[in-house]
């Protein structure tokens, strides 16, 4: 029930209260009253028809880079999959 779906802002209504967002090819009108300064191109987390927060793309990229860095360290010691690749795949569906 706290499902939040990310979507990209395609257009904003003139009143600034509603926006059209696109999620995986589907467009949807959502309320943006809870999020300040929404602009076209922003990514929003949408819950029950309303945006509850912006998604910070820069942060997403930076955190990912940090994980990559942490995981590349000591590759020889622990980098090899501890579970067979076939089983591991189930984790990423």
């Amino acid at each position: 029930m706290c499902l939040g779906v990310p979507g990209r802002v395609v257009s904003l209504e003139p009143d600034g209260q509603w926006a059209v967002i696109e999620t995986m090819g589907l467009e949807q009108k959502v309320g943006v009253q809870l999020v300040e300064g929404v602009a076209v191109g922003d990514y929003l987390i949408v819950h029950a028809g309303y945006a509850i927060e912006k998604l910070d793309l820069e942060d997403a990229v930076e955190r990912l880079r940090l994980w990559e860095e942490i995981l590349s360290r000591g590759e020889d010691a622990v980098g090899r999959p501890a579970v067979p690749a076939g089983r591991g795949e189930a984790a990423e569906r």
Partner: protein, 370 residues
């Protein structure tokens, strides 16, 4: 999906992280003399952990156990009965999120009542319930407000819209719940031995981190605010294990791309404008102080509990149902004798098998044959 965001789902990183988590979990298990146990306090996490197979991949190294994170599941039997009473009133159309429809009450459910002629409409957003009231001035539309801090602000926005339009036929039955108070109740309980928490990312998007700091400060347990990709969940487990090993226990934000340090002030403002905290009953817990939301006095005109005088309902937990123990983290679904036998999604005995976010439903759909 944006390319940059898509990288969060790359299998390669998750696989590497999984290997690290397993190594770390072994060290922690040695130190504890048993497997570490972490609780996810969000139904969306429960589903993600089951669906991706993470629970199974980590089994034998650490246990991921579900807590009181499914709003439909924690809704108390008395509240379910009142919702059913509302649906039975001839002038009322009930508008609800779909998950509530099949939750079994003592004798019936909203779905059964609908089959008998009651008007029950499934809506995706509380805004749809307001639109329904506008389109049907002859009906009393009652929206069933079920959900945590993530949902309550959206219901408050719907109330604001109804107030602005001066809709005389829209009310909310507020069964909203707050997560930090129930976590206090959970931690106060000597029952489940939990070594750390995977905190609900979208609840924290509203509340911020501070309301959860007590977990580390008062109970000495680590917790991480967590997103919903496999890499997010594995990342949080990794950091929980690290904190246990280092002894430097804190509440961390692992979902910084969405959760701001102070949460969403705007969302809290409108939530607090329309609602006030009240003591509330939780399935499995009983009364928990200041853990629910009721409409404030000056918006009493929109309060379904006030507009419609409902008698005190007779309630009963269906025989053998252990949803309550499950929600307290005392058992996992497989430890309930009814699981996948007398209780299935087609014929659910308790709400944890009904809601798509209920742990029993998630285990049934994704982990039954493991």
């Amino acid at each position: 999906m944006n390319k940059k965001l898509g990288r969060w789902r790359e299998p390669d990183l998750s696989r590497k992280l999984l290997a690290r988590v397993i190594l770390l979990a072994r060290t922690v298990a040695e130190r504890l003399g048993r497997l570490p146990v972490f609780m996810e306090v969000c139904g969306t996490h429960t589903v993600a952990i089951s669906r991706t197979g993470l629970r199974g991949l980590l089994a034998g190294y650490l246990e991921l156990r579900s807590g009181p994170g499914c709003p439909v599941c924690v809704t108390d039997g008395g509240e379910i009965e009142r919702m059913i009473m509302l649906a039975r009133l001839p002038e009322v159309t009930v508008a609800t999120f779909g998950d509530m429809l099949r939750v079994p009450g003592r004798d019936t459910s909203l779905e059964e009542e609908r089959a008998r002629g009651a008007r029950v409409e499934v809506v995706y957003s509380p805004a749809d319930a307001v639109a329904l009231a506008e389109a049907h001035p002859e009906k009393q539309v009652v929206f069933l407000g079920v959900g945590f801090e993530t949902t309550a602000p959206t219901v408050a926005l719907a109330l604001a819209a109804a107030a602005e339009k001066k809709l005389p036929n829209f009310t909310v039955y507020s069964a909203h719940k707050l997560v930090p108070p129930v976590m206090r109740a959970l931690l106060h309980d000597p029952g489940p031995a939990v070594d750390g928490f995977i905190l609900p990312g979208h609840v924290c998007a509203v509340t911020g981190r501070a309301p959860f700091d007590f977990i580390a400060e008062q109970y000495g347990l680590p917790a991480v605010i967590t997103g919903f990709e496999p890499l997010d969940i594995l990342g949080s487990v990794y950091r929980l294990l690290e904190m246990i090993l280092s002894g430097h226990v804190r509440v961390l934000n692992g979902y910084t791309r969405v959760v701001r340090e102070a949460g969403n002030r705007e969302a809290r403002l409108i939530m607090n404008k329309y609602f006030r905290p009240v003591d509330a009953f939780w399935r499995g817990f009983g009364p928990v102080p200041e853990s629910g939301l009721a409409l404030r006095e000056r918006f009493g005109g929109f309060d379904a509990a006030r507009r419609f005088a409902l008698p005190e309902p007779a309630t009963a937990v269906r025989e053998g149902c252990r949803c309550g123990d499950l929600l307290r983290g005392r058992i996992n679904p497989r430890q309930c004798p009814l699981f996948a036998a007398a209780c299935t999604p087609a014929r659910p005995v308790g709400p944890c098998m009904v809601s798509s976010e209920g742990a029993c439903a998630a285990y049934y759909q994704y982990e039954r044959n493991r």
